[in-house]
Amino acid sequence: MIRSQEITHPDLMIMRGGVLDQEATLRARQVQMNLCASRQITWDEYKRRTSIRAQEGHIVDHPGAYYLVMMGAAEPYDDECRQKCGMTAPKIEAALIAGEKLHKAQLTGQRQHDAADGDAEKAHETRLERLDG
């Protein structure tokens, strides 16, 4: 489960036999990139076709979802994910706190990781608002 974040648009996620085909998903994104690069669609349209804003609590169903837990961007939803990330519950909690702080700091370019909450949220919103159209 992740925080509010930009994720790949579900229409672009190509499944084969219930399993995500990452190569095919990437190719589908590149088709949209080419349309945008040749000005057949606007950049805003490209962004809306390839990405959506995931609300906080969104469940990422992906074989690599444990990476998000390791970096403190998400918490594990099931035992498989918990096992793959190889972290204890306190470590996951610590990673979430550190990840949130880092996330806000990077959004506002504060190297000392002391960005004001308001600034961080504003910058984050600007980026995500575009996805909402």
């Binding site: 992740i2 974040q5 930009e6 994720i7 790949t8 996620m13 995500l20 990452q22 190569e23 998903t25 990437l26 994104r29 590149q30 990139m33 080419n34 945008c36 690069a37 950049w43 490209y46 962004k47 990405s51 995931a54 990422v60 992906h62 074989p63 690599g64 979802a65 990476y67 998000l68 390791m70 970096m71 961007a73 880092l102 996330h103 990077q106 959004l107 506002t108 370019g109 910058a123 600007t126 980026r127 575009r130």
Partner: protein
Amino acid sequence: MAFSKCKGTVLQIDIASTMTTIAQLIEVDAPSMQSTSFENLTLDQAGVGVARELTGYTDSDPFTAMIFWDPALAPHIKLSDDIATPAKTTWQIVFPNTGASEIDWVSAGLKFKAVTAARDGMKAEIEGDIDGVPVVTA
């Protein structure tokens, strides 16, 4: 007209379909783009100038980035994992200007090199070939 600072620029990589920021970024060179051409110089050409024609293709030079490397940090681990198990990946740079402009691209081959020096912190260089055409926002 506006002059934008670079502070706050974010390099993101697709991890589990989520655009994820690579922490501790020091610098990043976005992929350059070039519409390619060939010389169509001929011996019976009248003028002295070297003539060129467009190939109809657009090529990109690799992107490069430098980070303070944390071997235990997930996005940094993901970089070396994508080399150990080669995989194409989506990247984007989000700029700190008011409109939050972006450059999106797909990397093919990746290079990761740790760099250590007595008077410096532990760093890593990242370099990647581009598959297709990067997309630049206004």
